[in-house]
């Protein structure tokens, strides 16, 4: 049962206020008629399904009714960041891998990458 930071309300709220809406950043082709059937099928149905970092579209359904994006780990269910429509993720599988590499190179103590902003205190 997740605790989700709504980037529009600026607060952590209970998962019950939200609905998951699938993969984020899927753009509708600008010229649908120019798409092949395969391209259109890809837009409609084919999805990233990663075991790890995933960028997802959610709606704060019982709240501000705004759609927004979540970067979430699909195994640990950790929410690494949430961001508004039109924004790009600050954390991706690639940035995390690079960070890990840098960290192991520096052999420094591991630091948390979680950036779910806001204070979880009630």
């Amino acid at each position: 049962m997740m605790h989700i930071f709504c980037p529009y309300c600026g607060e952590l709220r209970e998962e019950e206020e939200f609905h998951a809406k699938g993969q984020a950043h899927i753009e509708r082709p600008i010229e649908p008629e120019a798409c092949s059937d395969a391209e259109w099928g890809d837009y409609l149905f084919f999805r990233n399904n990663p075991r790890g970092i995933h960028h997802e579209l959610w709606i704060h359904a019982v709240g501000c009714r705004k759609y927004f994006n979540i970067t979430r780990h699909t195994v640990t269910y950790e929410i690494l960041e949430t961001y508004r429509m039109g924004e790009q993720p600050g954390i991706t599988a690639e940035t995390l891998a690079a960070e890990q590499l840098a960290q192991s190179a520096a052999a420094s103590a591991a630091s948390s990458t979680t950036q779910q902003t806001g204070d979880a205190r009630p």
Partner: protein
């Protein structure tokens, strides 16, 4: 293979059970196989079994990253039925049902297939239209089924509240007498034992980390124990199918979601059939041990955590108490989750892929367990012949480009 029987059991008892053979070997992987099955769940093991038994291909390895039958096979609510709406899916599940009906004897392993009947309840006028439509189709497909009225449902399930005073009264149901439940672990173990005895190598604790291709064709798999060559590879990894496809270099129209289930503490027999309700959204049967086995809903997000959200459990338990208020004082013992790979049309993908010689069998969503023998059987055929089994043809993944979906969402609803 050591045959099992009541007589054998008595014999072993007299020697303190010290002489039972291993149910399967733990072989070292060979350098190359004719066929490699990735995934040692029920479907993968069944595929290997039928490949060996029906197609004479025995140079086969099943590669499992964990333990056999440890994924959704071990986590489902064990319901078996074949009363699907569309011809394509009904034929697929009925093929499976027929195999279930002789499976214990075929495998010499009691999978405890209990044909106690499956009820799909209707609570609204539209539910009843859909039930009529599906049962009418089933009869013409050659699948048993009838539409029951409220009183007939009450007679079958005395413990259920079929009164008119509930929030969503039971208006009737579809009834498939041949449906029922089976012992999930036994299915995996029975197929594993059968496959092993036909020479199939079951390789556990070995992870497939990649697919090696040459000129667009598969030549083997990379594993945590090194490269293993193969002429053909069948991937049957359920919730991990998306991950496997990514490793093979393509995407599938799949998302892996958490699906939860729960059991009560064991009770004396109180429920003799399987009761499913799409509308109030719960389904329940009672295991031979006495637990009420209850299926919960699917969560809306991608999740590989084998757990879902608590409100999903709450809604399911509410549904069960709406149907069976007398269970209010019964306790929930345990909940768990599986990872189900779901397709947009709630139907599986049994298909060749962009990589020659590489086949996928996935997307069973919430309906995989009941399909185990049938899925394995037609996937074995597909792997043996290098082309889709006639029953598998409609389930190619390119249907999502042509638009030829087999949309079971509408009528199957809770497609378990």
């Amino acid at each position: 293979m050591q045959r099992y029987s009541g007589f054998g059991l008595v014999k072993h008892a007299l020697s303190h059970h010290e002489h039972w053979q291993k149910v399967w070997r733990s072989p070292e992987p060979k350098k190359e196989y004719d066929v490699i099955i990735v995934g040692g769940g029920g479907h993968g093991l069944a595929t290997a079994y039928y490949l060996a038994k029906e197609h004479g291909i025995t140079n086969i390895a099943v590669i499992e990253k964990g333990w056999l039958g440890g994924g959704n096979t071990a986590r489902n609510t064990t319901i078996v039925r074949s009363n699907y709406l569309w011809d394509e899916s009904a034929a697929l599940y009925e093929h499976s049902m027929k195999l279930w009906e002789g499976l214990s004897q075929d495998l010499n392993y009691n999978v405890m297939f209990s044909q106690r009947g499956v009820l799909n309840l209707g609570h609204t006028l539209q539910d009843m239209r859909d039930i009529q439509r599906r049962v009418n189709a089933n009869r013409l497909q050659g699948i048993d089924g009838e539409v029951l009225d409220t009183q007939q449902v009450q007679d079958l399930v005395p413990a259920m509240d079929c009164s008119a005073s509930t929030r969503y009264p039971v208006l009737g149901a579809s009834w498939q007498p041949r449906g029922g439940v089976a012992r999930h672990d036994a299915v995996a173990w029975g197929f594993a034992r059968g496959a092993d005895s036909l020479g199939v190598d079951l390789i556990q604790q070995t992870e497939v980390t990649g697919f090696r291709k040459q000129d667009g064709a598969i030549v083997g798999v990379e594993t945590s124990r090194g490269f293993i060559g193969a002429k053909r590879v069948g991937v049957v990894t359920a919730g991990n199918s998306g991950v496997m496809a990514e490793k093979a270099g393509f995407r599938l129209p799949l998302e892996s979601h958490p699906l939860q289930a729960l059991v009560s503490e064991p009770l004396k027999p109180i429920l003799d059939t399987v009761v499913m309700s799409n509308h109030v959204h719960g389904y329940v049967s009672q295991s031979d041990k006495g637990d009420l086995v209850i299926g919960a809903g699917i969560d809306g997000y991608v999740g590989y955590g084998q757990r879902g959200s608590y409100p999903t459990i709450e809604h399911t338990v509410q549904a069960i108490i709406e149907l069976f208020p007398i269970f209010s004082r019964v306790r929930m013992n345990r909940q768990w989750g599986g990872i189900v790979d779901t397709c947009p049309d709630a139907c599986p993908i049994i298909s060749k892929t962009p990589v020659k010689g590489l086949f996928f069998n996935c997307g069973w969503g919430t309906g995989g367990f009941k399909a185990t023998p049938g899925s394995g059987n037609i996937f074995a055929w597909t792997l043996a012949k290098g082309r889709a089994h006639p029953l598998a043809e409609p389930f190619a993944y390119d249907r999502f480009n042509s638009g030829k979906l087999i949309d079971e969402h509408g009528a199957a609803g809770v497609a378990h």
